[in-house]
């Protein structure tokens, strides 16, 4: 990652362009997942497939850019396709998941798949916590086990996909 500093401007332009592309990609995934209803009586909860773009940003451009792209995705998606409830859900899920992913990545003990699984799980924990606050009912936590399984499965798939994506994109973006 450090090597890029040799050619500062090219590196920055590439970073900005890639950040933009991945923001657009994240928004499209957010839109697609808003079309897929989860068969759960907790309305507004999403699968979290947009995480594939976020985890790619995290591994290609670092945590600062990942935070920026995530905030942009959540805000723009809510403005374009969502409502206030879906904004709250994705904000709670997206931010908690990113926080956990950044910490696990920094710890160095996990590969991209482990980071993604933790991200997927905490995405759902965040969403259900938002639902508990919004509906004022702790009983919604009873759906947590089902959501955890969803989070683990999507996390594994997204981690594998994200791993292959970053492997192939990194040589283009990373080296000078």
């Amino acid at each position: 990652m450090r090597r890029r500093k040799k050619n500062k401007n090219t590196g920055r332009t590439k970073k900005i362009a890639l950040g933009g592309i991945l923001t657009a990609l994240a928004m499209i995934f957010s839109y697609i997942e808003s079309l897929i209803p989860i068969p759960l009586p907790v309305p507004g909860v999403k699968l979290g497939i947009a995480n594939i773009a976020i985890i790619s940003v995290l591994y290609l451009l670092g945590s600062g850019q990942a935070l920026l792209v995530n905030l942009l995705r959540i805000t723009l998606t809510a403005v374009l396709f969502g409502n206030f409830n879906s904004f709250l859900f994705s904000m709670a899920g997206g931010m908690l998941s990113l926080l956990v992913m950044v910490i696990l990545k920094k710890s160095g003990h996990f590969s991209i798949v482990g980071v993604s699984v933790a991200g997927g799980v905490f995405h759902n924990v965040g969403q259900i916590t938002a639902a508990v606050f919004l509906m004022d009912t702790t009983a919604i936590y009873y759906y947590l086990p089902v959501l955890l399984i969803f989070g683990i499965v999507t996390g594994i798939i997204i981690g594998l996909m994200g791993g292959y994506v970053t492997q192939r994109v990194y040589p283009v973006v990373g080296e000078e």
Binding site: P41, I112, P145, G163
Partner: protein, 136 residues
């Protein structure tokens, strides 16, 4: 477990680490534990139906008395709730997604029917409130 880790390691180009496998295993165990605890430890035949609109309790009814009625949602909207044979379901609603109607019948403590567009929650509780305190 060891076999799996080693086999994958030899082929993998993703840099999978054994910690990844342990993470997934631990999460699965937590999930299974939660599921078992909720299914066998906490849930039992409920006795009271609590209906909340936007977080405020609007109605509290005994599950054993058969009845049906309408609840108006937050900022309008209607949900038709039926209590029958010690169970409760939402027979009709004018919300766009109808997820509450599709939830079906509930009767155990802690089970809920949620209508997010109208902010209506139907919740089953036991006779006391100790149950909620434990979860919090």
């Amino acid at each position: 477990m060891k076999f799996t880790v080693e086999t994958v390691k030899r082929k993998n180009r993703l840099g999978l680490k054994s910690a990844d496998f342990y993470l997934v295993a631990v999460l699965l165990i937590i999930t299974a534990g939660l599921l078992a605890w909720i299914q066998f430890g906490v849930k039992k035949q409920g006795e009271t139906v609590v209906i909340k609109v936007d977080g405020n309790v609007v109605k509290q009814l005994a599950l054993k008395n058969d009845t049906e009625f309408d609840v108006s949602g937050y900022q309008g909207g209607m949900n038709h709730i039926v209590i029958q044979d010690n169970a409760v379901y939402m027979s009709d609603a004018d919300c766009p997604d109808k997820l509450c109607v599709h939830t079906g019948t509930i009767h155990k403590t802690g089970e809920t029917i949620v209508c997010l567009p109208h902010r209506v929650v139907v919740e089953i509780t036991g006779t006391t409130d100790t149950f909620d305190a434990v979860v919090q």
